[in-house]
Amino acid sequence: MEKIQIISIGLSLIFLLFVIRLIISGKLREEYSIVWIISTTILVVFSFWRKGLDVVSHIMGIYSPPNLVFTVAIFMIFIYLLHLSLIVSKLQSQNKQMGQEFALLKQKLEKNKDE
């Protein structure tokens, strides 16, 4: 086993444990953690299976294995960013409705107090 392989296995496992700890402590919601668990699992798998990268890129017809890593990683990041933008948009619209309801209710409450 080479030095770089030990480092990558160690780092991926630490990252995976960190994600799991965040979920257990309730800081990260499960639905947003799926992507993180999958991607760290992939990292762990390829850290152990060193030939794997060459095999997969050969199957996909990619000349240089590192290109596979970059292409897949960037693609995944784009998808995940879009996913996050969706969540932010949803939160913003829910927040707006909440604020409006709040203002209307507060007015009603104060009117009742006056009567």
Partner: protein, 239 residues
């Protein structure tokens, strides 16, 4: 016939008191049953305390929603409390209350659903700056291109809607810069829209919701919003 006058206010401590009393004085001078609703869009100045002392319904938003969200809050209030008409008047004193009758006449006697007060028909009063006028021209062209309706002053916030429209805006009203986009929403819902000439003044206090440097962003954002709203309503109705 109950009329709600909705005044969105964001940091308008200098102008808001005179705007509200202007409307109330106007209401007293006519037979119209007018209720003033001030929507305080989480102002950071003294607006909240000032409107509490005024003769109006005060709606204080806990978070800053922008002009569209603030106006929609007023529309929701008007809808829930069974108002027949809602008029929007900006909180900075640009819109004199004396013009309200022109809007109400067009809605009550001529049966229009949406009446927009325009400064460009009679070309009287404050006409806005050159760059603003260019933007307004552009949106006029865009609206005409998409829904074949010509509104000369499509960014005007001085407008009246009836109960039929209140039901629609209760569910959906554009967020940030709602004026040009809402015209698309109205015309795709087959509402009768009319523009009447009104006289506007220069703002009496506060700053515009559109800063000088964000003009470009405004144009881009509103253009996208108009195009996507157009597509959404078109596809949903399947016509």
């Amino acid at each position: 016939m109950k009329i709600a006058v909705i005044v969105p206010a964001y940091n308008e401590e200098n102008a808001i008191a005179s705007v509200v009393s202007d409307i109330n004085n106007y209401a007293k001078s006519t037979a119209l049953k007018i209720t003033v609703i001030v929507v305080n869009d989480c102002s950071t100045d003294n607006t909240k305390n000032i409107i509490a002392t005024l003769h109006c319904i005060a709606l204080n938003l806990p978070i800053n929603l922008g002009i569209g969200g603030a106006v929609q809050t007023g529309y929701k209030y008007a809808y829930e409390n069974n108002f027949d008409y809602a008029i929007q008047i900006d909180g900075d004193g640009q819109h004199p209350a004396s013009e309200i009758s022109k809007l109400v006449d067009a809605a009550v006697h001529e049966g229009y659903d949406v009446v927009i007060g325009s400064r460009f028909i009679a070309k009287e009063g404050f006409q806005s700056s050159a760059i603003r006028r260019f933007g307004i021209q552009y949106f006029k062209w865009l609206n005409r291109f998409l829904v074949n309706i010509t509104i000369h002053d499509c960014t005007s916030g001085y407008r009246l809607i009836n109960r039929k429209v209140l039901k629609i805006v209760n569910n959906y009203y554009p967020d940030e810069y709602p004026e040009p986009e809402s015209i698309i929403v109205y015309s795709l819902n087959h509402l009768k829209i009319k523009e009447v000439p009104v006289i506007m003044k220069e703002r009496q206090g506060g700053v515009s919701s559109i800063g000088t440097f964000s003009s470009f962003y405004y144009m881009l954002k509103v253009t996208l919003a108009i195009l996507f709203t157009f597509m959404r309503i078109k596809f949903k109705k399947g016509n």
